[in-house]
Symmetry: C2
C-alpha cells in the first residue's frame, strides 16, 4: 500500500507517543493538553482515545516508560563505545551538555519535569517515574560493580551520580548555561574515582 502523498508514513499511534513525549518533557503534565498532542502529532483527536482508552494518564504512563527505556538504551550505547565505565559515564555527562546546547536547553531528562509534578499529585504516574529511575539505578549500579566498586557502595554511588545529573539538568535549563553540567561531570568523575571504579 502506497502512502497518500503528503501523509506521514509513521503510524498514528507512534506519532501520538512522539508528540506527547516532546510536549511532556518541555511543558510538563498539567500544561500539556490532548488537543495540543493531537495537533502536534497530526492525528485526529479521537484517535488518541482509540489508542489510549485511559486518556491522558495512560498516554503519559507509556511516554514515561518508553522515554525511560530509550534513555537507558542511549546510556548502554555510550558505555558500549567507551573504553571503561569511567570514560563512558564521562561521555554521557558530556553528551547531556551538548544536547542541552543543541536544543536551546529544552531537551533534557525525558521524565524529570513530569516526575516533579506528579510526585505528590498522581500516584500511578509517580510509580511510573519511580520504575524508570529504578531501572536506571540498577543498570548504573551494576556497571559500577563491574568496574570494581564494592557491591555495598554501588547503589549509593549510583544514586549520587543520578542526582548529580538530574540536578544539573534542572540548573542548566533554569540558568541557560551548561556550566552546571560541566561542574556535575567533574564531580561525577571525582566520586567515581573515589569509589574505586576503573
Amino acid at each position: 500500500m502506497r502512502a497518500v502523498p503528503g501523509t506521514p508514513t509513521v503510524p498514528t499511534r507512534d506519532r501520538i507517543l512522539y508528540a506527547a513525549a516532546e510536549l511532556l518533557r518541555r511543558q510538563g503534565y498539567a500544561g500539556t493538553g490532548l488537543k495540543q498532542v493531537a495537533s502536534c502529532s497530526q492525528a485526529p483527536f479521537g484517535s488518541i482515545y482509540h489508542f489510549f482508552p485511559g486518556g491522558k494518564e495512560q498516554l503519559a504512563d507509556e511516554v514515561l516508560r518508553t522515554g525511560g527505556a530509550f534513555f537507558l538504551a542511549l546510556y548502554r550505547q555510550i558505555l558500549a563505545e567507551a573504553p571503561s565505565v569511567r570514560d563512558g559515564i564521562a561521555a554521557f555527562f558530556a553528551g547531556a551538555g551538548e544536547t542541552l546546547r543543541a536544543t536551546d536547553f529544552q531537551d533534557a531528562c525525558p521524565i524529570a519535569t513530569v516526575a516533579g509534578e506528579v510526585a505528590s499529585t498522581n500516584d500511578a504516574l509517580r510509580r511510573a517515574t519511580a520504575d524508570v529511575f529504578e531501572s536506571w539505578l540498577a543498570e548504573l549500579a551494576g556497571d559500577l560493580v563491574t568496574a570494581g566498586v564494592a557491591a555495598a557502595d554501588a547503589r549509593p554511588l549510583a544514586f549520587a551520580l543520578l542526582a548529580q545529573l538530574e540536578g544539573a539538568f534542572l540548573l542548566c535549563r533554569a540558568l541557560r548555561t551548561t556550566e552546571p553540567m560541566d561542574a556535575a561531570a567533574r564531580a561525577a568523575a571525582s566520586l567515581i574515582a573515589e569509589g574505586g571504579a576503573r
Copy 2:
C-alpha cells in the same frame, strides 16, 4: 481593631502567598489554579487580582522569590549554628531528608517543580527561578571560599553541591525514600573534603 471571632488574623495578601507557595511546590504551575489558591487561602477570588494585578504569573513570581529567600535564610541559620561550613552543609542535607520524611515527601525545594515546568515555557518565571538559584550559588560559593576552597574552584563546587541536592529531592519524592538524600549527603561531604574546605 479586634479580629472577628473565627476570622484568620493573618493578612489576606500573606495568606494568598502562603497558600500559593504550598500549592505550587506540590503541584507545579500549570496544575495550580487561582480558584484553588483562593479556596486554600480563605480569600475572596477577587482579592487575588487586587493584590496581584498581574494574576497568576505575578503571584508565582513573588512566591518563587519569597520561597528562595526563605530557603536561603534557613541555610544561613543552619550554617550559623554549625561549627564549620562542612558541618553546616552536612546538617542542611540531613535536615532536607528529615523534612521529606516529616511531610510525606511533599515538601522539598520551594522552586524546583515550577523551575522544571517554566524553563522552556515562560521566560519571566524562568528568570525568577534563575535569580533564586544564582542567589543560593553565590552564598554557597562565598561560604566555600571562607572555608578555604580556592576561589576558582568554589563556583563549580557550589554548582555540584546544589545539583546534588536538587537531584536528590527529585529522586526521593519519586521513590518515596530518603535513600537518595543519604547518598547525596555522603557525596557532598566527599566533594567538599576534596575541595579542601574546613
